[in-house]
Symmetry: C2
Subunit: 98 residues, 2 copies
């Protein structure tokens, strides 16, 4: 999941529930249960979204006993946003091609 994929990245962001989860664990570690408590969706749904975010490398996981704590990978966000900007928003970047 270190590989950077602008499509995968965009797909991961393209859901309101996921963006809410990202916002929740933006700067702190949260267990799945804590995330569920703050949203109006079930635990399986949250687990599913966390899996999507994991596949995109957008969250870090820390297992501890029977708990799993998730936290947004802000560095990854910065890198991926930068890639998008480079790919689509920069004038002087025409030499590299996909």
């Amino acid at each position: 999941m270190t590989r950077s994929d602008p499509i995968l990245f965009a797909k991961a962001l393209a859901d309101e529930t996921r963006q809410r989860i990202m916002k929740l664990c933006c700067c702190r570690w949260l267990s799945v249960t804590e995330i569920v408590e703050q949203l109006s969706v079930t635990q399986p749904t949250v687990s599913h979204h966390l899996a999507v975010l994991r596949e995109a490398g957008l969250v870090n996981v820390r297992e501890e006993g029977k708990h799993s704590f998730y936290r947004l990978n802000q560095d990854r966000m910065t890198v991926c946003c930068g890639e998008l900007r480079t790919k689509f928003a920069s004038e002087d970047d025409k030499t590299e091609t996909s």
Copy 2:
């Protein structure tokens, strides 16, 4: 479509064909036909994707006779990427909340 919506933005980016279109008209005006010629999808499909990109404010349109020329709105890209970074990737931005 001046309103900024991170979900709409991400959804617009969350498709390979659309990202290809964006790349094609990243720094030049292209007619729909020219875009179709460079992709392996039909004209209605390209028109559909252009509509999605238009709704997200990600392309500018210039009508000229019977042609419509599209070009990626790079400023919009910059703004939207910046918003994402601010929302999710910045450490020192916890006062504002959605």
